[in-house]
């Protein structure tokens, strides 16, 4: 049988379908591994400096409450910051509690020398102080800084589309903190190992 133009034309859709199939399999594989999230929104802030945002007050004025959050706090950071955007009224944030609790306790014990010490900061989105305090209690008071964004205006400056979201910020004296990773949805151990842990190893 000789190969005619007709054969080649008939092979074209088959090849197209095969290409699509390979693409879909790769997408599904990425979904399982946490590399690909179809609902993830383009995150233009990744790779850019920390945005300007209005200064956020602390949860309360008592000395036991962590200090609030301002743009200036990122200016002279010496360690990577993991910033959690959360609210007590959001179910995925409640589901996130065990992981945050686990992460905070594991960070409290001395780290191996080749990973940078990570600090956990929080931005509480449109929440009531009493309910936020209850969430913090359950999470074991994980944050060393916590800003209350009552109106949700600071979250818009961060490009937040919904809680929970997480930002990894690296120290950068020139720009005053650089965002290297932005995740939407609950942070899990899988995501942490895939995206955050490798970044910490690159810090000298």
């Amino acid at each position: 049988m000789t190969l005619t133009r007709r054969h080649l034309l008939a092979a074209l859709p088959a090849l197209g379908a095969a290409g699509l199939g390979v693409g879909f399999v790769r997408m599904l594989h990425g979904l399982n591994q946490g590399h690909f999230d179809p609902r993830a929104i383009n995150t233009p802030l990744t790779g850019r400096p920390v945005p300007d945002f209005p200064a956020l007050p602390p949860l309360s004025d008592t000395p036991s409450s962590p200090p609030g959050l301002t743009r200036g706090d990122f200016q002279n950071i010496k360690q990577p910051i993991l910033l959690f955007i959360w609210a007590s009224w959001c179910l995925p944030c409640v589901e996130e509690i065990p992981f945050i609790r686990h992460l905070a306790t594991s960070l409290a014990i001395p780290q191996s020398s080749h990973t940078a010490p990570l600090a956990l900061w929080g931005l509480c989105y449109k929440d009531h102080p009493t309910q936020a305090a209850h969430w913090l209690e359950q999470a074991g008071h994980p944050f060393t800084r916590l800003g209350m964004d009552r109106e949700g205006q600071a979250a818009i400056d961060w490009g937040v589309t919904g809680v929970p979201e997480t930002f990894l910020i690296m120290p950068d004296p020139q720009t005053g903190g650089r965002i290297v990773w932005h995740g939407t949805g609950s942070l899990t151990d899988t995501l942490y190992q895939a995206h955050i842990h490798p970044q910490l190893e690159t810090v000298p």
């Binding site: 929104i41 383009n42 233009p44 109106e151 949700g152 400056d157």
Partner: protein, 151 residues
């Protein structure tokens, strides 16, 4: 029947009102400025319910963004500035009408491209049917004659 048509017509005219903001107190007192705000808002994607504009959506974030559009309009900022402000925070994805760039060129040029391909195909088909069939070879003439003689 007449009543039904009237009701349907009423429904038709009530749709634009549904596109507006949730509560009247969100709207600007100046109707011209409010209309401008709605035009901008209809071009911005609600990032919570991703196939709606912020003018159509009742998500809290859409409400906040609507408020920001109106606030910035009152401060005298242009629609272009406001869109740039949104894109800086949420990326190109927030535009319901993507801007023309190297990435979106194929998307924007697709209608023209497909029209050109269609015209080319039509031209080819036209020419094929118009051209007369090739004359018979002597061999074909011989076969035809022998077939005709059979009858």
């Amino acid at each position: 029947m007449k009543r039904l048509i009237f009701a349907l017509l009423l429904l038709l005219f009530s749709i634009p009102a549904c596109l507006a903001v949730d509560t009247p107190d969100e709207m600007l007192p100046d109707p011209a400025l409010e209309q401008k705000a709605q035009q901008i808002g209809q071009q911005l994607r609600c990032l919570v319910c991703q196939n709606e504009s912020i003018e159509e959506s009742s998500a809290p974030l859409a409400k906040d963004l609507r408020h920001i559009v109106r606030l910035q309009l009152q401060q005298g900022r242009s629609p272009k500035d406001i869109e740039a402000w949104m894109v800086q925070r949420y990326g190109e994805f927030i535009r319901l009408r993507p801007s023309f760039s190297a990435v979106t060129a194929l998307l924007w040029l697709m209608p023209i491209l497909s029209l050109m391909v269609a015209l080319l195909l039509v031209r080819r088909l036209w020419h094929r049917s118009a051209s007369a069939p090739a004359p018979l070879t002597p061999e074909e003439h011989r076969i035809l004659d022998s077939l005709l003689k059979k009858d």
